[in-house]
């Protein structure tokens, strides 16, 4: 373990390990083939150091498997945020962080030379001007330091906004930050505010919360920024099925982040100029994002996208050869007496579908989506009630029939026991 450090320079590599430990949970040392055994040992030790008690060790015949096992509903803070708080730095970085802020603490604006002199005279630590200039420049972009020009000289002062003061000054803001630090977009940033102010979330717990999404927060800001600036982006992606081995570059015009709150997947949907079509890319399969030039046709493309989005049940735009030739999928659902909650389910979960009452016990759900296969996963949640499945595509209907036959054999044996009512 010589040379081991619990802090890291590069988030991307660690993100893969944390994801594998969290999502898969059954991988053993030999499964981590992307890097050397030494790298695995270091990454494993880091994850152990960050997540401590949340790790679980199970011995299997293949070896010891490590998993991060938590029920997101029962924890007040996403433990994966810890990975973001592990960036390495130099001794000078941390010294300058505290010394510059102390020199400027009283609200004065000082030129670079005076700051260097004061650090030297107050603390007996000498830094050359270039080192301090670089740190000041970095902190100006972080919003910690404010720069202003007086004549030809730049003066630097400390931002007056304090995390702890903000939370006290605005009544209710502390609770809002607690809430949003655990749900919604970029919760880790809210968590960093709480940490800075010495506050912990003790009020809100999150159900159906995919805490692993936070690992995508490393690449997502660049994508969102590109959407805002109407720019092309280049995505370096890998195939999840290949275990990360197959990589590719994708040049797209990003439209929107499309997220599932039920399957744990988030995507960036974009227009691919090379293929003249829209497509989606899983965020957890994106290694790096690079912004390109402004897309002159952005507004036109977005208008087309918004029109098409209404025919996406999820994120799929269907097979190109089928687009325009797909019949709507029509599903007839049986709803018994006292089962009005099923009608509620249809209404609130139908997305781009429409629901029509056929009789007291029968309801027809029509989904006119680009990809008729995409709704099938959801439709199967109504197993036991699906009277008829029509339209869509023949392969999907056959798959459904095969599934039911196989499931009936699986659960009820050959021939299948039958039941008339389900509750």
């Amino acid at each position: 373990m010589s040379g081991y450090n619990e802090l890291i320079k590069n988030f991307e590599k660690t993100r893969d390990y944390v994801r594998d430990f969290f999502i898969y949970g059954f991988k053993v040392r030999g499964d981590f083939v992307r890097k050397s055994a030494r790298t695995y040992d270091d990454e494993k030790r880091r994850v152990e150091s960050w997540f401590g008690d949340l790790l679980r060790y199970d011995d299997s015949i293949r070896g010891r498997q490590i998993s991060i096992s938590v029920d997101s509903e029962h924890i007040p803070e996403n433990p994966l945020y810890q990975a973001f708080y592990s960036k390495s730095f130099t001794d000078n970085d941390i010294r300058l962080h505290f010394l510059i802020q102390d020199v400027l603490f009283d609200g004065r604006a000082l030129p670079l030379k005076d700051i260097v002199d004061e650090i030297d005279s107050r603390y007996g630590i000498f830094f050359d001007e270039q080192t301090v200039r670089n740190k000041l420049k970095e902190y100006v972009s972080e919003g910690i330091i404010i720069a202003e020009k007086r004549g030809k000289t730049a003066y630097f002062s400390l931002s007056a906004d304090r995390a702890d003061v903000f939370l006290e000054e605005f009544n209710g803001l502390d609770d809002a930050v607690k809430f949003f630090s655990q749900t919604g977009e970029f919760g880790v940033v809210g968590n960093s505010i709480l940490k800075a102010a010495g506050v912990e979330n003790d009020l809100f717990f999150m159900k159906h919360n995919y805490i692993v999404h936070t690992l995508e927060d490393a690449v997502l800001p660049e994508i969102v920024d590109a959407i805002e600036r109407k720019r092309f982006v280049s995505l370096r992606t890998f195939s999840a099925r290949s275990g990360g081995a197959k990589a590719s570059e994708n040049f797209i015009v990003p439209m929107r982040v499309s997220a599932s709150v039920q399957t744990g997947r988030r995507y960036i949907v974009g227009y691919i100029p090379a293929y003249n079509r829209f497509n989606s890319f899983r965020l957890d399969c994106i290694r790096a994002v690079k912004q390109g030039d402004i897309c002159a046709e952005y507004d036109d493309i977005r208008a087309k996208y918004r029109k098409n989005e209404g025919r996406c049940f999820g994120v799929s735009f269907g097979e190109r050869r089928e687009t325009g030739n797909v019949e709507p999928l029509v599903v007839t659902i049986r709803v018994g007496k006292g089962e009005e909650h099923i009608i509620d389910r249809l209404e609130r979960e139908k997305r781009c579908g429409t629901v029509q009452k056929l009789s007291d016990e029968l309801y027809e759900l029509t989904i006119d989506a680009f990809d008729p296969v995409e709704p099938m996963h959801w439709i199967k949640t109504f197993i036991g009630r699906i009277v008829k499945l029509e339209g869509g595509n023949a392969a999907a209907r056959k798959l459904f029939d095969d599934d039911i036959r196989r499931m009936n054999e699986m659960y009820n044996g050959k021939g299948g026991e039958t039941s008339d009512d389900i509750q």
Partner: protein
């Protein structure tokens, strides 16, 4: 400008906390590292925070004549709000749920203070395509008022009298100690964990949708004894996931929010998973497992498997046109 920066890191945070004190001992430093650090931080941080004879430490703390430590800076480090944090706050101001927490006057002041800040993202940048559409109405003034009363009561441990319409349409009135709030991304609803209070005693826990509360009264009675939020009953289910149609990966992703134990089946390439779940959510779990079709088989417990078998048998009849 990224959240993966040392300025938000654990080491900076520990150093800042140590430097916030006028005086501290070596033991205090170790305690801070234990409290705020990673498991291995105690191996790395003390020699950087505590003054070293060879000056290899960061030089942020000095050793006093009496052996105590104090910071070299004049002031305790300020917790400056960064631009990234302000941009995140600005983005949240547009979220309908934000209004649950702050009143109009506070929101106006916040908007003024952050007027020059560009939001980190806009709501239209995100689409949650499978979120249920019957979520809570956060714009409803009554809902907001109820939320705030509940929140204050949780903090103050105050008993509340709640009138409520159950899922079956029954009107119910009860006194309870509110314990905590739970939000579901999928349902877009807030629910209140509470323990009913009767004859001077806390009873079993219950969960109610905030949106179903029709009346709420503060009692002025505060519960001073410590009370645990009664957890929901837990169950376990064991399933086998077959290596077909990418089911293993899809299953593990979809059930990532569950506490579970997974073991790979070397022969088939599939996996066996033991999921822990809250008993009241059993039907929801059942239909989600069924949605994987024949790629997922519920193995045990028998009662859970029987529920699946019943639904599948009914479906088989429907598919064959026998019903």
């Amino acid at each position: 400008m990224t959240i993966f920066s040392e300025i938000y890191g654990v080491y900076y945070r520990i150093a800042s906390r140590a430097m916030s004190r006028e005086s501290l001992s070596d033991g205090d430093v170790y305690e801070l590292i234990r409290e705020l650090g990673f498991r291995d931080s105690a191996l790395f941080l003390p020699r950087k925070l505590l003054p070293q004879k060879d000056s290899t430490d960061w030089g942020l703390l000095r050793r006093n004549a009496d052996g105590s430590l104090s910071r070299i800076t004049e002031n305790a480090p300020p917790a400056v709000l960064t631009l990234l944090q302000k941009r995140w706050l600005k983005a949240k101001l547009s979220d309908a749920r934000f209004r649950l927490f702050v009143d109009d006057e506070t929101l106006d002041r916040l908007e003024n203070r952050l007027a020059d800040i560009k939001p980190m993202y806009r709501p239209e940048h995100f689409r949650y395509f499978d979120r249920f559409t019957d979520g809570d109405n956060y714009a409803d003034p009554v809902y907001r008022a109820n939320f705030r009363v509940v929140l204050e009561a949780i903090k103050a441990c105050e008993l509340l009298k709640i009138s409520y319409v159950s899922g079956h349409g029954e009107r119910v009135c009860f006194t309870c100690l509110p314990m905590r709030l739970e939000y579901s991304e999928k349902n877009d609803k807030l629910r209140l964990f509470n323990r009913k209070y009767r004859n001077g005693r806390l009873l079993n826990g219950s969960v109610i949708n905030l949106g179903r509360i029709t009346g709420i009264v503060r009692t002025g009675c505060f519960f001073t004894d410590s009370a645990d939020a009664a957890g929901k009953k837990r169950g376990t289910v064991t399933v086998y996931v077959a290596p077909e149609r990418n089911a293993v990966e899809r299953f593990l992703m979809e059930f990532a929010s569950y506490e579970k134990r997974v073991e790979r089946d070397l022969v088939s390439g599939g996996c066996t998973a033991v999921l822990h779940y809250d008993k009241p959510d059993e039907t929801e779990l059942l239909i989600r497992l069924l949605s994987f079709g024949a790629a997922v088989e519920i193995l045990k417990p028998e009662g859970f498997r029987a529920q699946a078998a019943e639904r599948v048998a009914a479906q088989a009849k429907l598919t064959r046109g026998e019903i």
